[in-house]
């Protein structure tokens, strides 16, 4: 089977041959590892919480129909899943929406930040304004590379538009809120645990091989492959960052 270039340009590539790698049910270096195969060994409360994540995805209730396409497109670039088959993509936006709908917070709000709901509404608006300023088109109309260019300005904390909004809300704090919510949803999912080889719940069964990175009898050994991010993306890490970067720990760094 051959695929056209337009179909494969969002695919990750083999690091050596540069050939596109077709989406998989389970990306990552632990083929065949399935954390859910262990569910009978978990306590009932944990089993329910994890199974609900697979079978009871919350509906969208917070984002408006106007906001939805933009924030969905943003989330698809913050944590792209083009290496996953459509049926094995992990729902992220539904969990951000659920948190905002229920008004759940982590116990604090930065003095210089609006409440989370308002932060998202302002953030979506700012991303749209930035897209228009940079390209003359809306965020959802852009191809992935252009979308990454728009998001990169927020990641870098160097706004090119929407200055009125970024005066109300420090740009890096919004970025960390958004990316934090995305990773909290993705890496809570058992399919993500399969991808990264995380052992998952272990009560009451326990772990017995604590040292030397040894897998348990039901875990699998790592099988690495080298891959490159799709051509149409900007978000890969190029090289190891050897110096520590400061996040938005201090307000003085964010204005």
């Amino acid at each position: 089977m051959t695929n056209t270039e337009s179909e494969t340009k969002n695919w990750i590539r083999d690091a050596k041959t540069r050939a596109p790698l077709a989406p998989k049910k389970q990306p990552g270096y632990y083929p065949g590892y399935q954390v859910m195969s262990q569910k009978a060994f978990w306590d009932a409360a944990t089993r329910k919480v994890v199974e609900d994540r697979l079978y009871r995805v919350p509906p969208i209730r917070f984002f408006t129909p106007e906001e939805l396409p933009t924030i969905q497109a943003v989330v698809d670039r913050i944590l792209p899943q083009d290496d996953r088959l459509p049926e094995s993509k992990i729902p992220i936006l539904n969990y951000i929406d659920e948190r905002l709908f229920e008004g759940r917070i982590d116990g604090y709000r930065f003095e210089d930040m609006p409440p989370d709901r308002e932060a998202y509404r302002l953030g979506i608006q700012a991303i749209e304004e930035t897209a228009r300023a940079m390209t003359g088109r809306g965020f959802t109309e852009l191809d992935p590379l252009k979308q990454d260019e728009v998001l990169q300005t927020i990641h870098d904390g160097k706004p090119v538009a929407a200055h009125r909004i970024w005066r109300q809300m420090p740009i890096r704090r919004f970025w960390e809120l958004l990316v934090g919510d995305c990773v909290s949803a993705y890496y809570a999912h058992p399919w993500a645990w399969d991808e990264i080889g995380f052992g998952g719940p272990a009560y009451p069964r326990a772990y017995m091989r604590l040292e030397n990175g040894l897998p348990e009898p039901w875990e699998v050994e790592e099988q690495r492959y080298e891959w490159l991010a799709p051509v149409d993306s900007l978000s890969d890490v190029d090289e190891p960052a050897t110096t520590a970067r400061q996040g938005a720990g201090g307000q003085k760094e964010t204005h």
Partner: protein, 584 residues
Amino acid sequence: MKDPIVFKEPIGGPFAPPQGNKKILGPLQRLQTRMQRFADHEVVDYCIVGLGAGGGVLLQRLAKAGFRVVGLDAGPFWDSERDWVSDEKGSHKLYWNDLRITGGEDPLTFGENNSGKGVGGSTVHWAAFAPRFHPSDFRVRTEDGVAADWPISYWDLKPYYELLEREIPVAGPAYFPWGDPHGYPYGPHPMGGVGNVLMKGCTKLGIGVCAGGPVAINSGSRGDRPHCIYRGFCIQGCKVGAKASTLITHIPEAIRYGAEVRELSMAFRISMRNPRWTDGVFYYDRDGREHFQRAKAVIIAAYSVETPRLLLNSACPGHERGLANASGTVGRFLMAQAGNVLLGRFAEPIRMYKAPPAHAMSEHFYETDPKRDFVRGFAIQTVGPLPIAFARQMIKAKDAWGWGMRRVMMDYNHWAALGVLGEILPWPDNRITLAEEKDQYGIPVAKAHFTLHENDKRLTRFAVEKVKEVLYAAGAEEVVEESRYAHLVGAARMGHDPAESVVDRFGRTHEVHNLFIADGSVLPTQGSANPGLTIMCLAARTADYLIAQGTRIFDSEKRDWTPPPIRKDLAVKGAFTTGIPRLF
């Protein structure tokens, strides 16, 4: 590659919670006693606000000594089998997630970082490192010329360290070389991957290091509590019952001796009969109804944000700036420790999710070294972030997003995380005040202001570089850093001088005769040790004082400064009958 062996079902079917017991504290603990219920109009001897490290110990001690005592907690009385899960995201409810506003140049984060909600408080989600403070921690003003001295010394607290280490109990080496050297009643834990990294790096650099503790997790079974199973979900609430929390160490005995635990009860004002005497606590119940619990004396143990918030919200005639705040000290000298996390990537897999996050540490750099450009010091400790926590660290540490985040996370099993635990000094401008915003009960929320000063910054920089060296020495290919803060103490400090402190050496407020504070907020300085054990010890000492004073606490204006005798007979049952016998 051969297929993994997959066991589909345990013999006997999937695990299900035990049936027929209303309260299950760990798989083996049962509360057979019916809990005492006091009516609001009944005058109890003591009403304790907050049942965490301090409040839990006090509830048990006072009940066992025969007092009528009620403990209010804003959160639920956990049933660990039903309520807790081996899952990061599913454990959100363990934390104090109500709104707090945070600012300053280096704003603190709250919630899962440092604030528990529910019976057991933050001990439900602490990693359970349980080192003692060093003797020098009590004399920072004298020895280093900064901050403050405590009104008590290490030697006042030492017998309580020895007692509480047996009660909860603490596992660690037979000989712990730092501070006042001592041994632990339970042997050290086996090592996990992160501990091995710390041992290897420190050993190579000639830095002293300690394996397997000190940590308040059972390394052997004890009474009705099993030993650790090394599943790594300590800070999600220990379903096993191996990790100590006052919920399983002290609360059950408190109830057996007639204490009442009143869950989902949010205190909002301390009631004053006149400016020198309190007569009880106003609180909202689970349905938001207002109640007033009458008490002969009140103990606040709500921790470093909620304790000052409650005092400030209790302003009344005679206490216009907030209760017990004539000095203006309430809310000030708030401290958190530098908790910078250094993450190293290794060629070989580590799998840091196994074993308790807390299982090896070094206090090699704990004391002031005149050769450095700062006073005081820091500890190095193992940390074992689970995937979500690790991903969130990588947002800052590697600026990762998109495909970069996916790539970093695919290497999760190759990373090891070590934490700095650095002493930040108490500063008056680091403080809790009230914000204009209100919470779901209509109570003004707390606002925290936190800014590092020059000594804090120098200390943190030095510590971060040192831990980086350790990781590289252990063979890391890449090391990145996330700056953050750990623990909370201060904001209602103890001292001799009423003009500069809120409570006296026994935790009694200078201004109100029958109002006490028994939590981390009374600490004048914080050392580089995790504060949990010290908070419990201070609470046990306050309890001994209250018990020795008897009913004088309820009606005498004269303050007796005689140190109380230590009441080892009030320690929880089993403290002296189990463990690995060792000479003290």
